[in-house]
């Protein structure tokens, strides 16, 4: 009994929440004004999304553009966002005023790129805040790592950089400038014949004006300026908060030239497992910056053509991973054909591998859509390096139980390989990657730097290649051609995965071509792993489309019947270019080899990379799911996020406002063949009736969405006016839940209200015990369109009610709805759908509402769910 009342309370609570923020009723006129604001939000949103799509296109490597284009495009974009925010504030009564600060912050970042304003970093900066233009401030190693963390979103230990400005301050504070400058001119020429770094006078010291290692020692004994000392203390405290439970960090060098053209591998000091205490970290900091001036490091810099006195040392402090195993990946095997990578691994810390441990495990992995281990050798690993409890590390004999045993599973090797491919793809050069796996099995990337160039066998193709290519190309069987719209150009190959339900998303094998009926921003979860996307419907300006451009996944939308024309599991190659889209049978290797080459070449142009960086603050979408916790103003990282937030919240706000519209104003009864008892509040173009007319027939409905849904409800056979017989228990339950069980024969007067305009509808329905809210915008512009469908309640016991939830969810999923259920509350959303398709879906929803009104009373077993779903889809509406 208590449960039943609790349930009732939750239903009413649900309805009450719908009107939150608009206590009491609001009048018709102010609703009309708010609705106008809503439409302006939509218009601005569209304008902005179009600019974003255009910028993605123009900055994609196929156009020569200049800063004037960027200025013009961004000014249009920011204008649209600003105007959208103004209208949004009115609509939401300034509920999300914080959005202005978020916009201002992003806007500042963008203007910095447009107007070439240098970044102003402090003495210490956390990895989360390191951006593209900071390699001179944080050094190469920190810069690359921040990129892996912030852009590729791979797991990197929390940490902060101590900047080159801090280094300058330290040098100045200790009066070392002059000594450093005196390093400027080498006293001798670079290495002579037969000399090595260690037998030359260079390597043995002999620096004019400075004694061997003198600078090094002066730094070790130097004093850290108080401002820097406080900044480090503060950062340590913040790191402790972020890195719960961890008490140590690794202090690593990150010189300005390091990890760029020359790796400087092993030239500078790294201090591992430093206790997270001010004194220890600062001592380690001094050791690392001092290593810039060790004789060996100076000799190396001179040999590579650098002026030693000009290099600066930033430092990275990152939480120490308690590694179970770790190692190094060369993302391209220097001795291979360019299609393999090598992975070394050992127990404990990877320091031993970096230092040349010879009995580590060794894998050669084929770099393919699905990486494959093609060679493995398991070493003895006689010794291993471990973290000591009080700081520092120690080399110990590997326990017998671990010696000779591989320290990675095949899955881990392949997982590492996928990440390496991702990193190499991003930096466009083969990478030397340090990684660790902690005791919970989590993979961390500790470092990524370019491998020194080696003769790549790629790109050797002679002139004969073109001819061969043409032949192979023309032999390929075309499965689809000139169908659909190209969202992102490129070539991708893999096995077709036809996605029927969103639940299957996690089951898509890596490298598949995702083929789905509708587009969805939820696909973002698999974007790093799929090789192409094709959808039957969809628009090139949807959220998913922007995501596909961001991830550069070859994508075709609106392809008609791809889900029918392609077979699940079939191997295909998708080629999307200026000329349109084509799908070939099998893997067309020549097409794949040239894929994206224009973009990759352009990425080598520094100015291009630099200007294109602006898109990072504009195009990516981080707010994917409105039901997730990060769906807040603070969660917005880009202009696109802001737009998404405004759009989503405007719709929710409108639902709330619609429910609060006073029924006293301009309401008209719908006179239908079924006793649905719907009252319409026309807010402009919703009904086609004479002034003063108080009732309207189906033919008088002018609102596109309302008409479509009512059409469905009126479909022959779906509305059962006979009362379904309830079993004794159901009957008892329903008696306790509601007083009027026999009301079906009567109209549901006053319960059912539609607020409607030509393109908008908010329909609240209560049929006995079922509560339904359908909010919908349905216009010619697919991007404006949405359906929000909420459903709660039921007369029968919880088991039957959940069967109905399952049935409705099954059917809604078929139409591509994104669904959350909680008990017997269903929240389903769908957006970016073409008008004709919307009308069809609304028609089906109308039928579904009518059909399921009493369905739970007959859902006696789980098999019935399947049966009635099937019947519904076959348009067999008998109960």
């Amino acid at each position: 009994m208590k449960d039943i009342f609790g349930h009732l309370r939750s239903i009413f609570g649900f309805l009450k929440r719908q009107t939150r923020g608009f206590a009491g009723e609001i009048d018709y006129l102010s609703f009309k004004t708010l609705f106008t604001r809503f439409r302006q939000v939509l218009d601005d949103h569209n304008r902005a999304i179009e600019v974003i799509a255009d910028m993605g296109d123009k900055l994609g490597g196929d156009y020569l553009f200049d800063i004037n284009y960027i200025k013009k495009a961004y000014s249009e974009l920011s204008g649209a966002v600003y105007s959208s925010m103004q209208n949004f504030d009115v609509l939401t009564k300034n509920k999300y005023i914080k959005l202005h600060d978020v916009f201002e912050r992003i806007d500042n970042q963008i203007k910095r790129i447009i107007y070439d304003v240098p970044a102003s970093t402090g003495l210490v900066i956390f990895y989360d805040n390191i951006t593209w233009d900071m390699p001179r401030d944080v050094g190469g190693k920190n810069s690359n790592l921040a990129e892996v963390k912030n852009y590729l979103k791979l797991n990197v230990p929390e940490g902060f950089a101590i900047t080159t400005r801090a280094f300058d301050e330290f040098i100045k504070h200790n009066g070392l400038n002059e000594k450093i400058e005196s390093l400027g001119n080498p006293p001798i020429s670079p290495l002579g014949k037969g000399e090595t770094l260690f037998n030359s006078p260079l390597g043995k010291g002999g620096l004019r004006g400075v004694m061997p290692n003198e600078l090094h020692d002066l730094i070790i004994n130097g004093e850290i300026p108080s401002e820097l000392s406080a900044a480090i203390d503060d950062a340590i405290e913040r790191l402790k908060e972020k890195f719960k439970g961890g008490l140590a960090c690794a202090v690593r060098s990150s010189a300005t030239e390091e990890d760029s053209e020359h790796s400087f591998a092993g030239q500078f000091e790294t201090v591992l497992n430093v206790p997270l205490k001010g004194r220890a970290v600062k001592d380690a900091y001094k050791r690392v910056i001092a290593s810039l001036f060790s004789d060996r490091a100076i000799a190396y810099q001179r040999q590579m053509g650098y002026e030693p006195g000009r290099s600066k040392m930033a430092v990275g402090c990152m939480a120490m991973v308690d590694s179970a195993s770790s190692g190094v990946i060369y993302s391209t095997n220097p001795n291979g054909d360019g299609n393999t990578m090598i992975i070394n691994s050992t127990w404990g810390l990877g320091k031993s591998i970096v230092e040349g441990q010879i009995d580590a495990d060794f894998y050669v992995v084929k770099k393919d859509i699905n990486p494959e281990i093609i060679e493995n050798r398991h070493g003895r690993k006689e010794s291993m390096i471990i973290n000591l409890r009080d700081g520092g590390v120690n080399k110990i004999k590997t326990p017998d139980s671990m010696m000779g045993r591989p320290c990675l599973t095949s899955e881990q090797v392949l997982e590492l390989a996928s990440r390496a491919i991702q990193i190499e793809k991003h930096f466009r050069k083969p990478q030397d990657i340090e990684w660790a796996i902690d005791k919970d099995g989590r993979i961390f990337i500790l470092q990524a730097r370019p491998l020194p160039p080696f003769n790549s066998p790629l790109g050797k193709g002679g002139d004969g290649g073109c001819e061969r290519e043409a032949r192979e190309f023309s032999n390929a069987t075309i499965l689809m051609k000139d169908r659909g719209l190209v969202v992102q150009k490129g070539v991708g190959a893999g096995r077709v995965f036809i996605l029927r339900h969103m639940d299957e998303l996690d089951r898509i094998p890596k490298g598949s071509v995702l083929v789905a009926k509708h587009d969805s921003s939820n696909f973002v979860r698999v974007m790093p792993y799929v090789s192409a996307i094709i959808t039957d419907t969809g628009t090139p300006t949807s959220h998913m489309a922007s995501l596909c451009r961001e991830f550069r996944i070859p994508t075709i939308v609106n392809a008609g019947n791809a889900t029918q024309a392609l077979k699940h599991g079939q191997e295909i190659t998708v080629n999307a270019d200026d000329g349109g889209a084509a799908v070939f049978e099998g893997t067309v290797k020549t097409l794949l080899m040239h894929a994206d080459s224009n973009f990759r070449r352009m990425e080598d142009v520094y100015e291009f990379r630099r200007k294109r960086y602006i898109l990072r603050y504009i195009a990516p979408l981080n707010l994917i799911d409105p039901l997730e916790d990060n769906f807040t103003p603070e969660g917005c990282k880009t202009i696109h996020d802001i737009l998404r937030f405004i759009h989503e919240k405007s719709v929710s706000e409108l639902i709330g406002i619609s429910r609060a519209v006073s029924k006293e104003h301009a309401h008209v009864k719908l006179d239908l063949k079924i006793p649905a008892g719907i009252t319409v509040i026309d807010i402009g173009g919703g009904l086609n009736i004479k002034p003063g007319q108080r009732s309207a027939a189906f033919e008088d409905i002018a609102s596109i969405p309302l008409k479509a849904i009512i059409k469905g409800m009126l479909y022959p056979g779906v509305w059962h006016s006979d009362m379904v017989s309830l079993k004794a228990k159901d009957f008892l339950t329903s008696m306790m839940r509601m007083s009027d069980i026999t009301s079906d024969g009567l109209s549901y007067i006053e319960n059912n209200v539609a607020v409607a305009s030509k393109e908008y509808m908010n329909l609240s329905l209560r049929f006995g015990y079922h509560f339904n809210v359908i909010d919908c915008y349905c216009s010619e512009n697919a991007r404006n369109n949405h359906i929000h469908f909420r459903f709660a309640g039921g007369a029968t016991d919880i088991v039957k009610r959940s069967r109905r939830v399952e049935l409705i969810t099954n059917i809604l999923k078929g139409y591509g709805f994104n669904i959350k259920t909680k008990g017997d509350l269903i929240i389903a959303r769908l957006a970016n759908i073409r008008q004709d398709e919307m009308e069809n879906i609304l028609d089906q929803l109308g039928r579904l509402i009518a059909y399921t009104r009493q369905l739970d009373a007959v859902l006696h077993d789980d098999g019935a769910v399947e049966r009635y779903s099937r019947n519904f889809l076959k348009e067999n509406y008998g109960l």
Binding site: K58, D62, Y63, L64, F65, D66, I67, N68, Y69, D578, N598, R601, M602, D604, V605, Y606, E607, F608, K611
Partner: protein, 121 residues
């Protein structure tokens, strides 16, 4: 056969850099200039087959480049690109015997096609 020589004049580095990258890919020898003065001195030393120039630049503008090129080498083709496209500039350029005229952003594929046409005439 020696490579065709192409000069690109634009006061924004990104335009020259991107043009160079894509045109060299086609086998052309490309030289880029950030303003017209050094470009014109270079032209006095050596002939180029195609000159791609921005219309609006500080100092000497694209029209002046066009006139000088035509005076020195009547057969050299000039392609004008501009961010501030309007009918008047297009007409002015066409009267000055420009081979082609593109508003920026310029689709690289179209620029390449235009250069090919210029060279085949």
């Amino acid at each position: 056969m020696s490579k065709y020589r192409i000069m690109v004049v634009d006061d924004e580095k990104i335009v020259g850099d991107m043009a160079k990258m894509s045109l060299e890919q086609e086998g052309y020898a490309v030289e880029t200039f950030l303003n017209a003065e050094p470009a014109l001195s270079r032209l006095k030393e050596e002939k180029f087959d195609v000159v791609v120039t921005d219309y609006k630049m500080k100092g000497i503008d694209g029209m002046e480049v066009l006139r000088t090129v035509k005076k020195l080498y009547p057969e050299t083709k000039v392609i004008m690109i501009t961010a501030f496209a309007n009918l008047d500039t297009a007409i002015e350029a066409l009267r000055g015997d420009v081979h082609d005229f593109f508003p920026k952003p310029v689709k690289i594929k179209e620029l390449k096609a235009s250069i090919q046409r210029a060279l085949s005439k």
